[in-house]
Symmetry: C2
Subunit: 477 residues, 2 copies
């Protein structure tokens, strides 16, 4: 590979650590919106983002995510057949630290690397335009030594986004200097911005890795030092690069906008051509979906009567609306949200209220994902609980023991290898294993298809914390 | 007992056969609103109705219901410790036939009997006023030989009820002749009616049994003949009196209003004093409930933000509303209804649409009640299904066999007596029974507390119709 061909490759840094409460109840802390199949493609926005930067012209992606999401990131990458560097943040320190880590990793690969920083939870329907715009931004970033913002052409006077006023042209492409940044405006101001040719600030960037380091060094040296320290002391954990917690904790919690962009003299903006949405609310999601004749978006087990301009979505539970317009109704197996499209932005406040009320549904999904597969509660009562458990081919649950419950496992699909107090036995479909209280046991799917079983727990306490983990191949605590 | 004391006793006839789709999804064909615990008392309106007529001055109630509801009627009566004659209609033939049956049964007990016909799905909060009004109505019915309607004082110009214009006073009590009946009016007309002292037609009556027979004989002889024939050929079935299907089918489908009330010269109306609602919609239900400071009625697992004048109810699934006013949201484990209070009357049309769409949730409840207890599905997938089954003390399921599924039963509460191919064995909590495909089996709760078990079905077909019933103590087909 020649230096010039390497220089043309853009190094994608995908920021996938957000918690996305504004699309509750589908998006929750334990499985935020970037990993959920919300699009008509059936893929998550993280998957779409990865696919978008997996073609020609892009280097191996760097994914920066929170430690909690490492297994879902690995699983979705594997599902796409894409290899990436997965970097785990021990805690959230806002975007400046994450971007600093990405820039340092890219620079470590190639000191002339150009980075493309992308949020994992945005929607960009136009793949080819996106790629072309990124190449232009990369050329401008390298050629004019600029941190280029991808500036979206407004489709209306949105009050949900920050704006960028383009300044002087950089060469004869779509690149410009930045005249000024403008915070989220009110409606009237937004209309002025749109009339004056301002662009939406998408929060996606293209920059030479070295330039970003220089600017961080000038305007936010603590961020850069913390990122460097966290990377130097990072440890490999399975397929993940786990940043050093102590070093990373020294990074100030600050966004890249405040840390660098509003101070640097090297900001630029590309007038992009692709369509874009941050799908930051159910109303924004409604906007990007196709409507039926009544102007509704109806997804899943839904039936409506004399209802217009509404977004109604349900996974399983039959959800009905009669005689309402412009509402949002989202049903999951354990939670229902009803609001208006206009007020959909306030779902974030609702989730804060639910957290204050100590409702587990505020942050926890009904289906709990684990490195070996997932489980969900299907029934609970006095002294018992029933779960549906799915183990991926090759998946192995930790070797464990419970002090307060016995378990019955009925295999309904696939084959289970069950270890009880050292004895190993296979159970096929329609066979049941019994695990007495206190026994040491382990569940393994040795087969080629997912293993599904129904677990009936019986005992005086069925909480998740009655698990003594003796051994775990996924290195969980 | 003297003749005079017998004459003072009123014979309650409780009409409990309706299907109540307007309170869907809580009320459905398989368990309509009159049997559902919808009130703050925790009791069903059927139970409240029975309690209302179980005190001094009332004879043993006659309950006329549809054959499908016989076990829930028997169970709720038993729960109250009240004995009643339970008469089963083989099919619905509207109110004239049901009332004719009630009148004939009362006359069979005492030829001078005075009947009180009550709908099982109305709400009457003022028990003492109700009893006093009934005694007055009974005295007027007997003394003036009238079919007395209980005429409710309007609380507003409702367009949901028919009206009665009182005529000349009958004696010096609250009884009057009927000047005319008026159908459900529009708003303007309703206001005139209220101003002119009209009363709401509650559809509840008090009459001498003999007089009702005479009037039926004059104005609707086919109804009377069908009722008489159905009673004469009725058969005892367990504790029920099952009307003869062929004879009963000859009764015209007609309401008592059209069959008798609008023709007879012997109608009367009592100006009652008790409060009353037919709770014929979620909006009517909202009206009779206490409101919180925001004017909301919130019941169950509910959390709202900036929401006013709304009715939000959920059995289990966390249900949230943000920034909406005057809406109705009702969540059950398998269905969600979202509408406005204003449009709540259209739920009936929604249910018709759901039936047309062949949604089982239209008519069938998540929890299926059986004479031996109940069951509900908690999970279903390819080649398996999981149910939670509850068997009452003494309950016995039919002796049965399945051709397409094996079953695993895990007892989580109580004790099960399980018969498999003739062998009987007890299973206690935390024990599991296995029923291979094709075996003959029976489940019995021999104990003193409810038996709860988790049933895991595994097989190529798990539909309800794969049951061959060999023997059934509840005489089901």
């Amino acid at each position: 590979m020649t230096v010039s061909s390497r220089a043309r490759q853009v190094h994608p840094v995908v920021i996938a650590g957000g918690s996305g409460t504004r699309l509750w109840p589908v998006s929750r802390d334990t499985m935020p919106k970037q990993f959920v199949s919300l699009l008509d493609s059936g893929r998550s926005t993280f998957e779409e983002t990865i696919l978008r930067v997996s073609g020609q012209g892009f280097a191996r992606p760097v994914v920066v995510t929170h430690s909690d999401f490492r297994f879902v990131v690995a699983e979705q990458l594997a599902g796409l057949g894409v290899e990436a560097d997965i970097v785990l943040e021990p805690e959230r320190r806002d975007s400046a630290a994450a971007i600093a880590v990405g820039a340092l990793i890219a620079a470590g690969r190639d000191e002339d690397a150009v980075c493309l920083v992308l949020a994992a939870d945005h929607l960009i329907p136009d793949g080819d335009l996106f790629t072309a715009d990124c190449q232009e931004a990369a050329a401008a970033a390298a050629g004019f030594q600029r941190i280029m913002l991808l500036g979206i052409e407004p489709t209306g006077p949105s009050t949900a986004y920050g704006y960028i006023a383009p300044g002087a042209p950089l060469g004869d492409s779509g690149a410009f200097t930045v005249e000024r940044f403008a915070e989220k405006p009110n409606r009237e101001t937004a209309e002025t911005y749109v009339a004056e040719g301002y662009r939406w600030n998408s929060g996606n960037f293209v920059f030479p890795a070295r330039l970003m380091q220089e600017e961080l060094s000038t305007y936010a040296p603590e961020v850069l030092n913390a990122a460097r320290g966290a990377l130097e002391a990072a440890v490999r954990d399975l397929d993940f690069l786990r940043l050093d917690a102590d070093a990373f904790a020294r990074a100030p919690r600050i966004s890249i906008d405040y840390a660098v962009m509003e101070k640097t003299r090297r900001a630029g903006v590309l007038k992009t051509r692709f369509r874009w949405s941050d799908i930051g609310s159910w109303d924004a999601m409604f906007d990007v979906k196709d409507k039926d004749a009544a102007g509704n978006v109806l997804e899943g087990a839904v039936s409506v009567l004399d209802t217009h301009g509404s977004f109604v979505r349900s996974d399983e539970v039959l959800t009905t609306v009669v005689g309402l317009d412009d509402v949002v109704v989202v049903t999951t197996p354990d939670a229902v949200l009803v609001t208006s499209r206009e007020r959909a932005g306030e779902v974030k406040s609702l989730v804060a209220k639910l957290h204050a009320e100590k409702r587990p549904e505020a942050g926890q999904h009904h289906r709990i994902h684990r490195p070996w597969g997932w489980y969900q509660r299907i029934d609970i009562g006095d002294r018992f609980q029933v779960k549906h458990i799915c183990v991926k081919p090759g998946g192995i649950l930790s070797l464990q023991r419970h002090y307060h419950r016995a378990e019955h496992w009925v295999v309904v699909r696939g084959t289970a290898e069950v270890t009880v107090d050292g004895a190993v036995k296979l159970f096929h479909e329609n066979e049941a294993a019994y695990l007495p209280i206190g026994c040491t046991h382990r569940l393994h799917n040795p087969g080629k298809i997912p293993l599904k079983l129904i677990e009936v727990q019986v005992g005086s306490y069925t909480g998740e914390d009655d698990i003594v983990r003796i051994e775990d191949i996924y290195a969980r605590n």
